[in-house]
Symmetry: C2
Subunit: 245 residues, 2 copies
């Protein structure tokens, strides 16, 4: 994680269920976020259900800050994203989570303090609350079942943000102490296989021999055997060709 | 959603909490997925807590299928992704959710039936269970708090998958019935503003006048006013310059 970046704050407006606050905290810390602010929580603060649901996240984060109004909760920020299931017919930039997180990363690296505001479980944010921020984020979901909840939305935003601050990896195949086999070792194995297949009269149609060999080679090469696995394959051929008594 | 695509199945191995099963179902349907399979659920099936937590998703999906073994649950699939918090030192391709969903989309469009396997809440999948699938998915998280739960992981995978099947939108500013103002209308407003600023002796330093005008123009253009908003701005100037009695 780049220490020079100020991670975004997550601001929950009038959350009703302590469980959801805890789930948001857990998702935040999973993705490296620690600035959780709550506006006027229904059941007050601290909240035992939130603590239980956070799986220890709330203990490892700086204390949650509680505010009376959204305005108070975002006054120290430069740029605020609000969230809603659908856009609200306001003339306001709308972004999906991926584009928003890209925008957030650019601003955060520029030193801006940013925050993402999430609404009430049942009714979301009011239009006035959405007007408090510069950008509205909506998450494209199944139109026939668009009931993404508070905790789920925080997972999506936290996850997209994390791509910019948590080390990502490219698709790969870890080989541990072994290493992808050198082509020579693969070829030695393949020649042995071919020899044994000839002995076993595998290639019954001579004209098909070359094509079948090529197909088998392609199939086996796709497995990307390691040097250790090539040894195992030699052992397999030895076992299969052993004279049964 | 492209109807020709077979959406991936989500397979939960020995889930303990009905709430988590319900949360997974909800996340699945939010992202257009409907094939939920459970291997040996601790509390049996159906599960009242799962139904409650699914917010109606379980009623709107085809019936969940319950299996005794993971092997039974995946036999009709062509390609299986397993999930784990960390890779397991097996020689097996590892992908992040984004790359995995790209891979899933290519296979699904090719007609392959695919599935994603999620492990137990506490202990995840065994190494043998991970060996049942072709690819392992891991989600990069905060190394100091890597406690992504079952429901959260399903949100991330479902969300990444949805990018390939649910209509995405580019960042934009909806303008409703109005339309971004034509430059001529903006210029007319700006000339009026300039005239009024001259009357109000705003430009005290003549050498600064051009630069200040340019800065104000840049600031106002950034707002990308609509035609309706330009009319509102004219009204604002009228009100501000009205002689106070």
């Amino acid at each position: 994680m780049e220490s020079s970046i100020i991670n975004p704050a997550f601001i929950l407006v009038e959350p009703q269920m302590g469980e959801n606050i805890g789930a948001v905290a857990r998702a935040m810390l999973n993705f490296g976020l620690t600035d959780l602010r709550i506006v006027n929580p229904r059941d007050g603060w601290p909240n035992e259900r939130a603590i239980a649901m956070s799986s220890g996240a709330l203990d490892k984060m700086p204390p949650v800050r509680v505010f009376d109004t959204l305005s108070d909760a975002i006054h120290d920020l430069n740029f605020v994203y609000t969230t809603a299931a659908f856009d609200r017919f306001m003339v306001k930039p709308v972004m999906n989570p991926q584009d928003a997180s890209q925008d957030m990363a650019v601003r955060a690296k520029d030193g801006q303090k940013i925050g993402v505001v999430f609404g009430r479980e049942r009714s979301g944010l009011t239009n006035d609350e959405i007007a408090a921020g510069q950008v509205l984020i909506t998450i494209p979901v199944n139109e026939d079942f668009a009931s993404l909840n508070l905790a789920q939305a925080s997972v999506v935003i936290g996850y997209e943000w994390s791509k910019h601050v948590i080390q990502q990896f490219a698709a790969h195949t870890p080989t541990g102490k072994s290493f992808p086999a050198y082509i020579k070792d693969f070829d030695d194995f393949f020649i042995r296989l071919e020899t044994e297949l000839d002995k076993g009269e595998f290639f019954r149609v001579p004209e098909m021999r070359d094509m079948m060999k090529r197909n088998i080679r392609n199939a086996l090469l796709r497995a990307e055997f390691t040097d250790q696995e090539i040894k195992t394959l030699h052992g397999i051929i030895t076992a299969l060709t052993r004279k049964q008594s």
